[in-house]
């Protein structure tokens, strides 16, 4: 049944592409219905399956002579991420409801690209055949380009091209690895589980693993390949930022776990020698992840563009996901998957607040300008929302971020004590940049002055619209629900993590 998330999205995208240009309002309503249907399917499957293991969805021969099958299945990790995708899709459409007010918006094209991207993301999370996974992974690249290049802001063409090329380069690395593994294993199958059974030689794994891992990690925003992320997030229209940070970066992390680590677990083994205390690819990538956590947070601390703050915070949070995966412990990987979900919701909420609720009304994202607008009084809804989202994002107990970060840190403490300490410092810096942005944007003491230096009254802004409120309730509610009752997700994630290949749960020993 879950396969309908894919079909619905692509069918919706196709219909929208052929919809007459004048039907802008119909287009967005239709897109919302499609996204809601996808969410409904994802949620039903999530509730029905509960904590059970992998559920097969579809298995048909596609190109039998090459051993390629159309195989879809969903284990706990997939079901959680599919649910996240459904939520992000609905929220993204709700927060881009202003597209389609004018005919020049090209609303039907916007939502067609949006749904095509969503369909690709659903596909990646559900594919078991690696070829199929790769197809969906690449399908997701092109819509991103057009969403940013056509409807974006700040240096949109540059940012869109950078994002597309980074993604494509990453996927070329993945394709090299997959082709090599396919040929090495005798070209009989591309099924993940069957390929994982094949005993790839250690030497082979030692070069393919870092290649495939890096290829996917580029999309997860791993330092030093993260630079597409802040520029892309800032340039993208709100819905696309929400999707980029919310689900597209998760594709990368998911690929790292599902493909790179599952197929080539011995690529994580020690090299047999150590250089500057680094003795394995696992340590190298964990180091990159930790640098990303601290670096992202530190750079977010000095940004003047409100959206850049959120963009770099995404790099920092995704570092935690990668660190959690590389701990190779049950708790660390649990935490990483939970963090993917949590960050997907919270990053969406932050981008919605900054890019939609505030920017559409004030037409600026410059913190220095925003600080003069007294937004705390003028836009109490946005201020409250950002406080909630910021608190949740910095890891306040009661929200989803807290439980995820704690688990990652506990896992990291077992695996790399020093890295866990540094990552903890990064989280503290996270409190600082959130606080700074919150203070400057909403609660600044600077009085609003006009050109003559006279105090002006608090400006009137358009009232908050119903789609904004609906999207807010959806995202805040989800984060609160998971924060208060994390077992809702953990009971689904944990069995799936347990059934990962044994080598991934040894804690590196």
């Amino acid at each position: 049944m879950l396969a309908f998330t894919i079909y619905l999205s692509f069918a919706g995208a196709l219909l929208l592409a052929f919809m007459p240009r004048a039907w802008a309002r119909t287009a967005r309503g239709f897109a919302l219905i499609v996204a809601l249907a996808g969410l409904a399917v994802a949620l039903t499957a999530f509730v029905q399956a509960g904590g059970q293991g992998s559920m097969a969805i579809s298995d048909q021969a596609w190109v039998p002579s090459m051993g390629i099958h159309y195989t879809l299945a969903a284990d706990g990790i997939s079901r959680v991420l599919v649910l996240l995708t459904g939520l992000a899709a609905v929220a993204g459409i709700l927060f881009s409801w202003n597209i389609g007010d004018g005919e020049a918006d090209r609303a039907n094209e916007f939502f067609a690209f949006f749904l095509a991207l969503i369909g690709g993301v659903y596909g990646v999370f559900l594919s078991v055949d690696l070829f199929l996974l790769f197809v969906f992974y690449e399908i997701a690249i092109v819509p991103k380009y057009f969403l940013i290049a056509i409807w974006g802001s700040t240096r949109r063409e540059y940012a869109a091209m950078k994002l597309a090329l980074y993604s494509f380069a990453g996927s070329a690395m993945v394709l090299i690895g997959l082709l090599a593994a396919y040929a090495q294993a005798g070209s009989h199958t591309m099924n993940l589980h069957m390929l994982a059974q094949y005993p790839f030689p250690i030497r082979f794994q030692m070069w393919v693993f870092p290649l495939v891992f890096t290829g996917f990690a580029i999309l997860a925003g791993m330092w030093p390949f993260h630079t597409w992320a802040p520029t892309g997030h800032v340039a993208a229209p709100t819905a696309a930022s929400m999707l980029l940070a919310g689900v597209v970066m998760k594709l990368g992390a998911y690929g790292c776990l599902r493909v790179a680590m599952t197929l080539f677990p011995h690529g994580l083994d020690p090299w047999g020698f150590s250089f500057l205390g680094i003795g394995s690819w696992r340590t190298v990538f964990a180091l990159f992840a930790v640098i990303g956590i601290v670096y992202g947070a530190a750079v977010a601390l000095v940004q003047n563009d409100f959206k850049f703050v959120i963009g770099y915070s995404s790099v920092s949070h995704m570092g935690l996901v990668l660190l959690g995966l590389l701990t190779l412990t049950q708790i660390g990987i649990d935490g990483a998957v939970l963090q993917m979900f949590s960050h997907g919701i919270l990053a969406g909420l932050l981008f919605a607040t900054v890019g939609r609720i505030v920017y559409v009304r004030t037409h600026t994202r410059d913190l220095a300008l925003l600080s003069k607008l007294q937004l705390g009084k003028a836009m109490p809804f946005a201020a409250t929302l950002f406080v909630i989202a910021g608190m949740a994002s910095m890891g306040l107990p009661g929200f989803s971020g807290f439980i995820a970060e704690v688990q990652v840190l506990i896992g990291a403490w077992h695996a790399f004590p020093w890295f866990a300490i540094v990552a903890g410092v990064g989280i503290v810096v996270g409190v600082a940049y959130t606080w700074r942005a919150m203070q400057r944007a909403f609660f600044s003491d600077t009085p609003a002055l006009d050109a003559q230096g006279m105090a002006v009254s608090v400006p009137e802004y358009d009232p908050v619209t119903w789609p904004e409120i609906a999207g807010t309730i959806l995202l805040v509610g989800t984060s609160l629900l998971i924060g208060l009752y994390p077992r809702l997700l953990l009971d689904v994630i944990a069995p799936a993590v347990q059934s990962l290949p044994h080598a991934l749960l040894t804690g590196g020993r």
Partner: protein, 489 residues
Amino acid sequence: MNTLVNYGNLFAITLPETILEVVSLIVLVVDLAWLRKSSQASRMASACLLGVAGSAGAIFWLTTHPAALSFASGALVTTPLVAAAQIGILILTALVLLLSVKAEFSRNPGEFVAIVLLATTGMMLVTGARDLLVIFVALELLSLSLYVLTAFAKTSPQSAEAALKYYLFGGMSAAFMLFGFSYLYGLTGTTNLSEMTFLLSGQETLPLVIVAFVLIAAGLGFKVAAVPFHLWTPDTYQGAPAPVTALIASGSKVASFALLVAVTVGFVAPPSSESTGHSLWIVLLLTMAAGSIVLGNLAALVQTSVRRLLAYSAIAHAGYMLLGIAANTPQSGAAVVYYALTYALTTVGAFGVIAVVEHATGSDRLDAFAGLSRRSPLLAGTMLIFLLSLAGIPPLVGFWAKFNLFAAVLRSSGSASWPLAMVILALAASAVSLYYYLQVLKRAYVVKPTQPEPMPVSFLELATLAAIALAVFLLGIFPGMLSGWIPLG
């Protein structure tokens, strides 16, 4: 060579070619005798449609008579793979003719279509030829027809310049190739490729063999536009009338690659058998491949003319296909033909769109495509599909072709280490290629149009392009559709 020629056999093998020849004569006669007084447009339309009918007839014969025949101990053969390539070439020619129905570059429609059909005959003979002499004659038939076609826009100086460049380079490389053939004949005493394999084995280090291989590589490298014999490509692609460029870029490429596969099988024993080191021929192919992949992709990055951009992209694609030829296994040979056919189909579509845009704006520069998605959404949509397929984005057929080709190359490796290194190079370069394809699509979708009015495009052109785009899309989703025809994997 056999003295006893079985004419019945010859007739059976060359019947599709004969159909084309006869139709090309009919086209000339009809145009001269009955349509003398008709308008230019209707003369062009009737000539093109007659040509399409001729191609359809030849396709019909080939699909209904799938026979594995050979003539004069293998001078001309029809194997399933050859037949597949020939059917593909005929379909490509028919598409090119459909797209030229509205073309206005020529005042001699009858001659144009007749020569297109002659060129197609040449392509089909090249595909099936397995004897050095037949190969040379067929290649010359193809090349001479293409030189004339390139110059067909008689009022355009670019067309004449392009044709002259094409002719001078082409004549030179044909001479090289013939020289190389003569050495091979002198060394082995045969012109037959299947006998040559046996006679050449163990002699690959002879200086004369080396000279012969280098000369032949120059001649065939010219036909497939591989570096360093690619210099004619951008100029010819830019100067020739759009349908002619489409023909050069599609059917001619398919034929040349099919020939290269056969020649390589003839020159080099398959890699599985005991061989000492690399054959020089393989080294030559790999050098050309690496040069084409790198230079083609890098030079395409800076082009501002879409035709030149596609020319350099053609050089890059030739590089990928040369890898498959160098792998020299039955699977990789089939993969190359699959790649060449699907690439050619996509390219015909892309040049079809370019022709429409040129007709409307008078230019093939990137800026001419500005706002295409608003001036003609369907046209822009087809261009999106063609270029993304060329870039190798799934689920379009270009991705399958690449995957199939590279998988075949990797599988052939045995003990050799070059396949992995070359596939890595090719995939890295193809990551770069997305940049220049997106340059065109950016103009079409992102940039605002300079002229807001819809782009004039005839129904036939649009329908043909939409059909090609649909085929590119469906073949990508159901790649098995062709598997009864060209085996995948």
